[in-house]
């Protein structure tokens, strides 16, 4: 189905709940599944926005050393499992690189946290962070990953790791793989006809009787509305 046909269907309201469109416009076909979009945001951009995205992509924030640290950390936060890929496989570090430039107010905290990793690695193990073994890395991560039980000395590290965790999750769940894991099935034209009955039953809800004649009936979505003088739909 092409986009024009899509639009025609959307206009006439001939959707039923069962008919779900699949995106098949050229830019959707071309959209990267797992990588960060490299050309800037698609759709409705002003000249200023196009220019700004271009500039941000032309700059580099993280050093190779920092990227290596981040790759280790994001995969600890969101690792690969049976159902979903690891964060580094779906461009989370590239997403962070972009966000650092897009929201420069976060740069100092992020860079400071990544610097502190080397200090802590040296204190604990006499090595740079990127040279640590897996268990040594976890020795540091565990100091800052648990806000309610972390030692007071690590308060700053905890705050940084909280921000890192949040940014990792943003980058992870905003992907196709993240949607699939989460089970999000929206962002597609449909006809809302209320919570599925089995879910209503499970949660013990019933619709209020007096509204049953009032609520939208999907089969009426193609009929032009008309009212009597008192505002009742006819």
């Amino acid at each position: 189905m092409n986009r024009r046909e899509n639009l025609k269907l959307l206009f006439t309201g001939t959707f039923s709940t069962g008919l779900i469109l699949t995106g098949c416009s050229p830019e959707e076909q071309a959209s990267p599944e797992n990588a960060l979009l490299s050309g800037g945001t698609i759709g409705g951009r002003t000249d200023e926005e196009i220019q700004r995205d271009k500039e941000l992509f032309s700059e580099t924030f993280f050093t190779d050393t920092e990227r290596k640290k981040l790759s280790t950390l994001v995969d600890i936060i969101m690792p690969k499992d049976d159902e979903s890929p690891a964060a580094s496989e779906i461009g989370v570090v590239d997403f962070m690189e972009f966000m650092m430039k897009d929201q420069p107010g976060n740069q100092t905290r992020m860079r400071g946290g990544l610097m502190w990793l080397d200090y802590e690695a040296d204190e604990k193990f006499g090595k740079a962070f990127n040279e640590l073994s897996e268990s040594e890395v976890m020795g540091i991560v565990d100091e800052v990953a648990w806000p309610d039980t972390a030692k007071p000395d690590y308060e700053g590290g905890v705050r940084w790791f909280n921000a890192l965790r949040n940014l990792t999750c943003s980058g992870y769940f905003s992907t196709e793989a993240g949607w699939k894991y989460m089970g999000y099935v929206g962002n597609t034209p449909n006809a809302w006809d209320g919570v599925p009955q089995e879910v209503m039953d499970k949660h013990g809800f019933q619709l209020e009787k007096k509204y049953l004649p009032v609520y939208l009936k999907p089969e009426d979505r193609g009929r032009v509305a008309e009212w009597d003088a008192d505002g009742n739909l006819t």
Binding site: G43, I77, W146, P147, R165, F173, N187, P196, R221, L233
Partner: protein, 580 residues
């Protein structure tokens, strides 16, 4: 985005400044009456049906920032509204610790490209507040004057809702409302246990078609991105573009109005504006000037329109222009409903906003604040984008395993990933939107020291909340806790206390600012008469929320539309009678 420029000296029957709700409606009604109309808009043209302008149905990975807000789109990278709280080269200032924030959209349709489509009529009491509580002033008109126009707006634009028969929440010509979502049923349980009503919301979204020109809602929950089939209301898609198709309407985009020009007698002769593309000054002439640039922008233009006959700005012999600025109050709270954790997945997008809301339900005579508020609800399995899976450093503890053992806050790994999936769709939130008491001391004025990049003097805001609004916010917080607790929710965060004014948002944040050119019968205490005609200048009209005497506990848009239609009818009739 289109751009056109006419040579100076072009003359129209009417010039309309601004293409939002007020300007858009005026352009439709005045052009349908056969008048030649020039719309002067500071931003560019915009049509969400054009593929180039479409942000609807785009997944977050079509944005490198995954939909995060930017300066010009603070509500997200795919939000339709272009402008924001701070616009490069177009500053505004604040005085004496005022916190006022000003949201502007620079585009055809203005801020109707952003809003939540909540389309509530003001009720009979909302026009007569001073008579009820002795504060502020009554409107010079009442509900009966506006009702015929609300009816017409309902039919022209479309709004879904349910007939409830509540005196101060007048029913209209409603389209069928959508059934509630799961979290709305939980919240309804909480509201009912607290004896608080919760009814189908009233949003200007087409659940059924109203004509052949606009499509129906296909439930993507993205009205804020502008609808490619025009199934929601925005002034560009429903008013301005249809007017341009049918009538004698010229649209001047990228045109920033500096002032209303006048002749020696003080009569308006047109406008002077800067073309923001070539940065040159242009003039247009007309028999009538209609301002619909938004309450604050309109008062700025009027204050800047000084002449021998209008030394304090056009329409400002009263000295009231810019005063009585007031925004809705706002406060929020959220919770998490354990019974909704790990719930079944299905497409829950629904319409672009809440399916149920709470209108004001109490009698202020029994309370320590004068005016009411309505409650808006949020939640559900929304689209995961920027911010998804966040706040686990404080929220993860609400997730328990099969033995009832809570997860530790923070953490990492497969367990964290699973917990995020478990918690998805179980958080709910609510926001109060209340009426504030208009005060002369809350105002915008021209900052004598600051101009924008066009050399136009800018606004300076002076605004303080009073105990009326603070006590109302306190009441909101108590109510929110009651509803959340009754819904079976665990409260998130700590209850905002006196130190934060109970979470009361800074003035301007709710984007309902009104009242800067208020109407009234007495030219000494008001800027406009009851037809929104300037007391001091018969061929100058205001069709945005500047004319409001008081902003009800409702959203202002439906009233802007109704009053703009009413004023437009008056303009046509006065032109026919040759009174202007």
């Amino acid at each position: 985005m289109s751009f056109q420029i006419k040579s100076s000296g072009d003359s129209y029957d009417v010039i309309i400044v601004g293409s939002g709700a007020g300007g858009g409606m005026a352009s439709k009604i005045l052009s349908e009456a056969g008048l030649s109309v020039a719309i002067v808009e500071a931003g560019g043209d915009f049509d969400p049906a054009k593929e180039a302008d479409r942000t609807q149905l785009r997944p977050p990975w079509e944005s490198p920032r995954r939909g995060a807000g930017t300066q010009i789109r603070p509500f997200g990278d795919f939000d339709a509204a272009i402008g924001g709280w701070e616009i490069e080269g177009e500053p505004y200032t604040r005085k004496d610790g005022s916190e006022f924030d000003w949201f502007r959209s620079r585009m055809v349709g203005g801020r109707t490209n952003h809003w939540g489509r909540i389309s509530l009529r003001f009720g009979p009491n909302d026009f007569k507040r001073a008579s009820i509580d002795g504060l502020g002033d009554d409107w010079p008109i009442g509900y009966d004057d506006v009702k015929p126009y609300y009816d017409k707006v309902d039919k022209l634009i479309g709004v879904y809702g349910s007939k409830e028969g509540i005196y101060n929440e007048p029913d209209g010509f409603f389209l069928p409302p959508p059934k509630p979502r799961l979290h709305e049923l939980y919240l309804k349980k909480g509201a009912t246990s607290a004896s608080i009503p919760m009814i189908p919301s009233r949003l200007s979204i087409l659940t059924r078609p109203i004509n052949k020109d606009r499509g129906v809602c296909f439930f993507c929950r993205q009205c804020n991105r502008a609808c490619q089939v025009y199934a929601d209301f925005s002034a560009g898609t429903c008013l301005v573009h249809p007017a341009m198709k049918q009538g004698k309407v010229d649209l001047f985009t990228h045109s920033m109005v500096r002032k209303v020009t006048t002749d020696d007698s003080g009569k308006a002769t047109g406008v002077s504006f800067v073309n923001v593309k070539d940065m040159k000054e242009y003039k247009l002439q007309s028999s009538v000037v209609v301002l619909g640039a938004s309450a604050c922008e309109t008062s700025r233009i009027m204050l800047n329109s000084k002449s021998k006959t209008h030394p304090n700005g056009i329409g400002n012999s009263s000295g009231v222009l810019g005063h009585f600025l007031h925004d809705s109050t706002g406060a929020s709270r959220s919770g998490i409903i354990p019974d909704m954790m790990g719930r079944e997945r299905y497409n829950e997008d629904g319409t672009g906003g809440m399916h149920m809301y709470t209108p004001w339900w109490l009698d202020n005579k029994k309370l320590d604040f004068a005016r009411g508020y309505h409650i808006e609800y949020g939640g559900g399995m929304g689209q995961p984008g920027y911010g998804a899976g966040g706040n686990m450093e404080s929220m993860r503890k609400y997730i328990t395993d099969e033995f009832g053992k809570p997860s530790p806050n923070g953490g990492y790994g497969q367990g964290l990933k699973k917990d995020i999936r478990q918690i998805y769709g179980s958080t709910v939130g609510m926001s109060g939107r209340g009426e504030s008491v208009p005060r002369f001391d809350n105002y915008c004025e021209i900052d004598p020291a600051v101009v924008d990049k066009f050399g136009i003097p800018v606004l300076r805001f002076n605004y303080k909340w009073t105990d009326q609004e603070i006590n109302q916010a306190k009441h909101m917080q108590d109510t929110f806790e009651e509803i959340l607790t009754g819904s079976g929710a665990q409260l998130l965060g700590t209850k905002p206390g006196a130190d934060s004014l109970y979470g009361l948002a800074a003035p301007g944040r709710i984007i309902h600012e009104v009242g800067t050119a208020r109407m009234g019968n007495d030219p000494k205490t008001s800027v406009l008469n009851s037809n929104s005609q300037a007391h001091d200048c018969k061929n100058l009209f205001v069709v945005d929320a500047g004319s409001f005497v008081s902003q009800a506990d409702k959203n202002p848009t439906w009233t802007i539309l109704a009053l703009s239609w009413r004023t437009s009818d008056f303009i046509v009739s006065e032109l026919k009678k040759k009174n202007i």
